[in-house]
Structures are given as structure tokens and as C-alpha cells.
Subunit: 346 residues, 2 copies
């Protein structure tokens, strides 16, 4: 085991243990109308009355989601924009334009990230690494997705009215933002204590209407690696939470974990399954960068804050496809990044 500059890594292990307390000081969630009608509707900070959020295009609407979520998170943290040393952000759109056009006005140094729907875990990891490395006092991260901009980007324009198979997921309209710091405060929502940066996992699946199955191998690999690196079992967590596997991906994940002799079915939760209820016709569940981000901010951190959950492994999952790769007949590789969250109420 090596210890340099306050962070610990062990040669041959994939995870980073964060021995100094790193806090999620504040967070905010902005969600769309369908999400507002779902089970977490009352928990979001803002629910739009119209999914265009007062803008002319879906892309601008998504940028507005990010802008509002980040501004609110910084405000809740009791900070000003200039206090945030680095911003980590990304989204699903080509060339991450939701972030580029949403965040320019903040004038915060920006490290752009891309991890598809795993971006919440990726950006939270990067924000934590910079703090743990002593290179900032406050960092922030934000990510988003929008149903209409994502359908246009990846599948069909809404006007085409295509039928969606039952294995398809519904891209969440929403943005979640988080302020991270090593300084303790009265409003900390949870502590970040471990990170497992994921690897690309490609089982050769090609169905963009069944992304849960495409991402399940990555989720299984990251969860398994995290538990091996930290010497834990499923029983050590109140929840192991994936991003947007949906019903189909969840089943695949359970099967893969059982092959490794681990049963996570009792503690597993998937943000995509929870964000809509069965009456909302979302088929396999919610998806998108916004899915895990708004669920983390509105629901997961609330449970940790209140001490209902003590220890959570949060594993947003991403499907690394594009319209071009899909049309060229490529597979859909997955990636998943794990963030261990501990309640400040011990």
C-alpha cells in the first residue's frame, strides 16, 4: 500500500480509497414534467412546467437545466461562482453542447467529461480526486439529459412517432449538480470515501433499444471490483445503486453477479427503475446522464443525510454508442464508475 499526499492507492487495485473526509456539500436537481409526475416528483428542487424550459430548442432547454441546477447547488452550498475552482461537466449530446452552452456564463475553469450516462459518477469522481489531491477547496460537477434532445441525437426525431420496444428506456429530462469540498460544513449531504473508475466492457451487444443489457457487464465489473478492492460483501451496503440499467439490465446484472457468487438482489436499486412508476409507460425504465444525477441529488443523498442509509455504492452506467457507431453496425460498449457514499450521521 502506498500513501502519498493524502490519498491511498494499492498497486494492482483499481479503486481509490479516500482517507481524508470529502463532502458533498450541496446538490440540486432540476427535472422535467414526466419526472415531476413520478415517485420523486416532490423531492426535486425544480420541476419545469414545460420541457422547453422557456427556450426555442431542446438543446437550449437542456443547457438551461444545467445552468439552473449548478446555480442552485452553488447557492445552497453558501458559495459564489468564483469560489468553485474547477467544474466537471458533460452530457449526452454530440460534442457535449448542453454543457458548453449552459456553463459558459459561470466563468469557472471547466474540465469537460464524457462517460455517456455514467457521467454523474465520472464527474463526481474527478471532482473528488482534485479535492483529495489538495488542488482545490471547492469543486462542482453537473450533468444533464433531455428526452427530446436525446431521441433526436440517438434514435428518431419525436415527430417521427416511432414505436418503442419494451426493452427500451426513456431518457430522463433533468440535471443534477453537486458541490464537493474537503471542508466540513453544516449542510454536508454525505461523504465520498472510495472511487472505482470503470473500464470499457464490450460483450458485443448491438441493440440500442436494449441498453440495459449492454451496460450490465460494466456495472457488474465495477461493483465486483469495488467490493474486491475494499474487501466488502453486498451486506456491507444499505444500497448498491446503478444508474439506468432498467428492468432488463437489472436481471442481467443479478445473473452476472451470481456467477461471481455474489447476490446483490436484496440491496440493489436502479435509478432508472425508481424514477418512473409503472403507470408512466416508460417501458424498461429511465435512462440518461440526468437519471442517476437527479436521483442522487433528490433521493439518495436525502436518505444518507437523514441517516436512513449509512453506506451506499453509487454506480452510474453509460452506453458508449453514437448514431454513427450504431449505423455502422458497431456493438454498444458500456462503462460504469463507482462512488462510495457514507452518511455524515454515524
Amino acid at each position: 500500500m502506498e500513501k502519498e499526499h493524502g490519498a491511498i492507492f494499492e498497486q494492482g487495485k483499481q479503486s481509490i480509497k479516500i482517507p481524508i473526509p470529502i463532502y458533498i456539500r450541496a446538490s440540486a436537481s432540476v427535472a422535467g414534467t414526466k419526472e415531476g409526475e413520478g415517485p420523486f416528483g416532490d423531492l426535486f428542487d425544480v420541476v419545469g412546467i414545460d420541457d422547453k424550459f422557456g427556450c426555442d430548442t431542446w438543446e437550449e432547454a437542456e443547457s438551461t437545466l444545467q445552468k439552473e441546477a449548478l446555480q442552485m447547488a452553488i447557492g445552497k452550498a453558501g458559495l459564489k461562482n468564483e469560489d468553485i475552482r474547477f467544474l466537471f461537466a458533460g452530457d449526452l449530446l454530440g460534442q457535449s453542447i448542453a454543457s458548453s452552452f449552459g456553463l459558459g456564463g459561470f466563468h469557472i475553469p471547466l474540465m469537460g467529461m464524457y462517460g455517456a450516462c455514467s457521467t454523474c459518477g465520472l464527474s463526481l469522481s474527478a471532482a473528488t480526486i482534485v479535492i483529495a489531491g489538495g488542488m482545490a477547496r471547492y469543486t462542482a460537477c453537473v450533468t444533464s439529459s433531455h428526452f427530446a434532445s436525446a431521441e433526436k441525437e440517438f434514435r428518431f426525431p419525436l415527430a417521427y412517432g416511432n414505436q418503442r420496444p419494451l426493452s427500451s428506456t426513456w431518457t430522463v429530462t433533468g440535471s443534477g449538480a453537486f458541490v464537493v469540498s474537503s471542508e466540513k460544513s453544516d449542510c454536508d449531504r454525505a461523504m465520498i470515501t472510495g472511487l472505482t473508475i470503470g473500464k470499457i466492457m464490450d460483450f458485443g451487444l448491438k441493440d440500442s433499444m436494449n441498453m440495459g443489457a449492454c451496460m450490465a457487464p460494466a456495472a457488474a465489473d465495477t461493483i465486483y471490483t469495488h467490493m474486491m478492492d475494499f474487501g466488502t460483501t453486498p451486506e456491507d451496503y444499505d444500497k448498491i445503486i446503478t444508474g439506468d440499467l432498467g428492468y432488463v439490465g437489472q436481471k442481467a446484472l443479478f445473473d452476472m453477479m451470481r456467477e461471481k457468487n455474489l447476490d446483490i438482489s436484496k440491496v440493489h436499486m436502479d435509478c432508472g427503475i425508481e424514477i418512473y412508476d409503472s403507470s408512466q409507460d416508460a417501458h424498461a425504465g429511465g435512462s440518461g446522464c440526468g437519471c442517476s444525477a437527479v436521483t442522487l441529488s433528490a433521493y439518495i443523498l436525502k436518505q444518507l443525510e437523514e441517516g436512513i442509509w449509512k453506506r451506499v455504492l453509487f454506480v452510474p452506467t453509460g452506453a458508449l454508442l453514437s448514431k454513427t457507431s450504431f449505423n455502422e453496425g458497431q456493438s454498444i460498449p458500456g462503462i460504469a464508475h463507482g462512488v462510495e457514499l457514507i452518511s455524515c450521521k454515524q
Copy 2:
């Protein structure tokens, strides 16, 4: 000034000073045919004999560039793939598919980055931050661009045969990869001593055929901020090197720096200007993530390695547009990330 865990930051300053030596241990460049015929042709590690690099599509060709560059850089560093703790990678294609399909086979934990053509500076910064924070012994970064995949992604398919205005740049076909470590070795190419993560700068310009002008404000802001944070003047550097401003953007950069009472014209170099010679009909110069990446690996690090240059400020520049944002009439914001490089031969 605060010092925690071996890295130094000063509240209110944008830059990170890296007080412990961080080395670029090895690097590799793979370039296309046109780049091979240019001034740096003899310096690239590999020049393809055909820009499809044996693949069926331009996107797969670009993935192959990344794969070859990274494998070669890891080999030159005397390391195995499993020695690399984190990989930082990104490219210009929607959803970064050149990286997703190029890097899966390495089985290295991946943090996906997006900074358009500034990605070389961004990923090098992230790779350095993780090492400086003591969270890894070896990290690597890789980025790429390909003329044909970029034209298809951003402008017109090649078969359309559109005319290009003189202000347009030519996307470089190439990939550069770098291995970073805090461990000294015999093969170190240069040291990384300071980072300035850039902010999004948007002057409202909208011409995707004149990206140099769109990115110049970001380059000017990052160079100015870096010099203010480190208390330096242009004379302190052997070279201040931008990524792909080209001739048009260079002129805009000089004008903006003069407004800040700084004349960088004597020490400025732009990778986009240098990578092709005037007979190659590249108009305003080269561009793309690959432009600054292959120039850094093949030429800039060579100058530093040989001690011809002692101190360089390397500032890759990115234009944060997409086909969608362009078609929706949006401006083209820019971003630029600064990396200070010092020769190991002092």
C-alpha cells in the same frame, strides 16, 4: 498560498503549480499521409500508407490511430498495459466513439474527456493532477482526430466536394499518446510544472469555417491567466504554443494579447500553422485534437528533450461547436487548457 498533499494552489488563482516533479515518461504519434508529407513527416513514429489504416470506416480508422499510439507510448515507457492506473481520452466525434472503440481492449480504467481540439491539454492536465495528488504511479492520455471522420461529423461528407474558404482549417489525421509519472526514468521527455485549466470564452462568433478566430479569445485568456498566476512574461518562455488557431486565429491572438500589453509574437508557435507547409493547400492551417497531440509528441517534446527549448507553455485550443449547435445558429465558444513544460536537461 495553501499547500496540501503536495500540490499548491492559491485562492483566487486559476492555475495549479506542481511542485513535485511530474514527468512525461514517453509518448507516441501516429499520423496520416498528408501529415507525413508535411514538415514533421520524419518525426512521427508511424505514418499510415492509407488514411483508412486498414479499416472499413473512417471512424474505425481513427480508433486504430488511438490504439496504435497508446500501445506504442506504453511500450516506449517500458511498461505493460496493467501498469497504467488511469487512462484519460477523448476525441472530436459525437459521443467520443473514436476513444470508446479504440481503447476497450486495453482494459485500463478510463476517464473520458471532452474539450474539442483542446483535449490533449485537458487530458494531460487530468493525468498530471491524478499523479500529483498521489493517486497513481502511472497514468496515460490519448486523443485523436481524422480529417474524413471530422468533415462528416462537423461539415460535409467528403463526397460532396465542397469548397473550403481560406479561413478554414484542415483537420489533422493523427493521434498522440503520453505516459505520465512522478517516477524519474532514463527516458523522460519533459517535466510538467504548471497547469491552467481554461474557461469557456464566447465572443459570439458563428463561422465554423473560421474556428481560429472563435478560439483565439480562449487562448488569450488562458495564456494571460497563466502568466499572471505564475508572474511570468513572454520572454520567460522559449515557446508559447497554441493548438490550432491557424493564421487567422494567430493574428487575433496577437491583437488580444497586445490589448493586455503583452507581445507574444516573438515566442509564439501554432501547431496548426507548423504541421503543413504552404504547398499542402491546408488554407489557415491544421486543426483537430490530433494536431496539437502529434506535434507535442513528435516535435515539441523532442525540442525539450534535447534541451533546445527549456520552458514551453503548451495551450491546445478547442472550438465547442457541434453540427446541431451550428445548424441552430449558435455561436462557437472556445476553450484552451495550458500546460507548462520544462526540459529535463537544465
